[in-house]
Symmetry: C2
Subunit: 348 residues, 2 copies
């Protein structure tokens, strides 16, 4: 429930999936079922298609609503252009619902750049944030970690990375419930002098604020899945490459293992017995289980899936959005940014 006891209301872009609205609708139904009375979903998009998908399912009696949007942003479309020309796209309508207070958060698996641009221009950037970032949660051998930015900013300045550390820390605390998160700067060596020009300068900024940020220094590629940090800070180019690589691992490992198992009937028997353990591994390492990516630094709460999201991924994205609203993420960021400004002003 929201802080005032009412349901958390999520606006979901029903047109965002590559596989059509059915996948999104199934995900929404599953999320509403899982959340019991605490959640309501408004599906936004082409009304006819959404109702069609809804009648097929056990959606009755669930708090699911439909809001019509007559346009749709395509995957390849330029974000700025789409924002200007398609004022009635499903993404734009989702953002409008949040802006007008009719929804607490939006979830879209559509064109990422369009979601970022729409959130930025329609909901607005938070005061004190130079660049909003997309934070994603990836599984590690010890649990999970937040990595940001994973795609909103391909080129970053040191101050952006510094702010990503602030944002990531709050996300880890408020949405994942990690107390005193360890924040690492993704780099190519442990020493402060390692890295490219941007990470070297970012290290100095972060190091100067080590305690307040929970900064533990540089982390390397090998530290990510090993779970050395709860928050991994990087530019959106590196983060996006890593995220997509991580997403592909489960299926690559499965394919290679299946090939090996075919070499002997004994292996096949073993594989049969061990399958539940495998399912456990797959589930722990499966990106979809960990929900969507959160846009941080804009007003409201926006969760971004990707176009190939399964209904399970959509479900989890909706639940992450709800948890972020309940955790008071937006207020916490606003407060921290205010505090950050005050600290900067006094040289703290």
């Amino acid at each position: 429930m929201g802080s005032d006891g009412r349901r958390v209301r999520i606006a979901v872009d029903a047109m965002g999936s590559d596989s059509g609205p059915e996948v999104v609708v199934r995900g929404a139904i599953s999320a509403a079922q899982a959340a019991g009375d605490e959640l309501s979903v408004t599906l936004v998009g082409e009304e006819g298609a959404i109702w069609q998908a809804l009648t097929d399912s056990r959606a009755r009696d669930l708090p699911i609503f439909v809001s019509h949007a007559r346009q749709q942003v395509e995957m390849g479309e330029k974000a700025q252009r789409a924002f200007r020309r398609k004022r009635d796209s499903s993404i734009a309508v989702c953002a409008a619902l949040v802006r007008e207070g009719a929804a607490d958060a939006l979830v879209s698996a559509g064109n990422t750049a369009a979601v970022v641009t729409t959130a930025l221009l329609s909901l607005g950037r938070m005061r004190g944030i130079a660049r909003p970032a997309i934070a994603s949660v990836i599984p590690t051998s010890r649990g999970r970690c937040v990595i940001l930015d994973v795609g909103a900013n391909a080129d970053c300045k040191p101050i952006h990375l510094y702010q990503f550390a602030q944002l990531g820390r709050i996300y880890a605390e408020r949405a994942l419930g990690i107390s005193a998160p360890r924040v690492g700067l993704l780099n190519i060596g442990e020493e402060p002098t390692k890295g490219n020009a941007v990470t070297q300068a970012a290290y100095r900024l972060l190091d100067a604020d080590r305690e307040a940020l929970g900064f533990i220094g540089n982390v390397e590629g090998r530290d990510i899945f090993a779970g050395r940090a709860d928050v991994v800070v990087c530019d959106g180019f590196t983060g996006n490459v890593i995220l997509k690589l991580a997403e592909s691992l489960a299926s690559v490992a499965r394919r290679v293992f299946r090939e090996e198992v075919r070499r002997s009937p004994f292996y096949s028997l073993g594989a049969l017995l061990v399958r539940p353990a495998f399912t456990g591994v797959a589930s722990r390492l499966n990106y979809e289980e960990h929900g969507g990516a959160l846009l941080l630094g804009t007003r409201g709460v926006s969760v971004i899936g990707h176009g190939q999201s399964s209904s399970r991924a959509i479900r989890n994205a909706i639940l992450v959005a709800a948890r972020s609203v309940r955790g008071g993420l937006e207020a916490a960021v606003l407060e921290a940014m205010g505090a950050g400004e005050a600290a900067a002003a006094t040289g703290g």
Copy 2:
């Protein structure tokens, strides 16, 4: 054998491993055994320690020699400084052996920056190459791919990435025997306009030379392990992060699987039966099996391991060096760079 029928002669930095010279010596012995009569190894470093490790083993009758170096570059040491002050370090002596024609290639698992600097300043940069790059081979579900740069250049310009494509292509052909390798630019979207400022500009350079380079366009994080390209081009920051991440995967997957298996005796039985298949997977995905990273763009052939290299990794690094010498890698790069210059001069 070298092209003139004699043995390929490899100078190996015996002081480069974190675990001491024994590991390197064992790797050298194993490589010499595997290569039969085609290879000779000169172990370079503190003579006493090397001889000690050699008497412990079945090194007799193998073409293994020792060359004394009274200094050693430490892991944390600044590369330029080490080059100036430690003229008799094991890395410097290896490079001198190659420069003077007493060895065909060098292998070191020492301080990477020191190896790069020494190779660059002692052996010299190839004509037409703006920046040497480190190319590594990583396993994919379809086989393997070359990724470069993985750490020599944290900040790159578009022309550097273009040249990495040229270098990587030749490496894939000459050292890995891949005919008509597919070269991809690592990026965060398939479209030419995606990416950061450097990859956007690099795309245009590569695209203009699409056929000659075997350029297949942008590849994303998910495409690397899926084997969509034989050569993946990126800056040294991104490449290093990915390489270290890839190296860590085997151990992370093993740990998570072991935890899952412990949950039931049935799983354990299955795991026992399936273990050989697992070993197959581990071996296919194991970075060590694929040898060291090759420095491309300097004269001679230099292979760089990392300080945590096992003797198996050292062995494979030596065999990669030998294969690169036999494949005529250096001559092929020189020729291609000459051709590249000619093409550029005629606007081709």
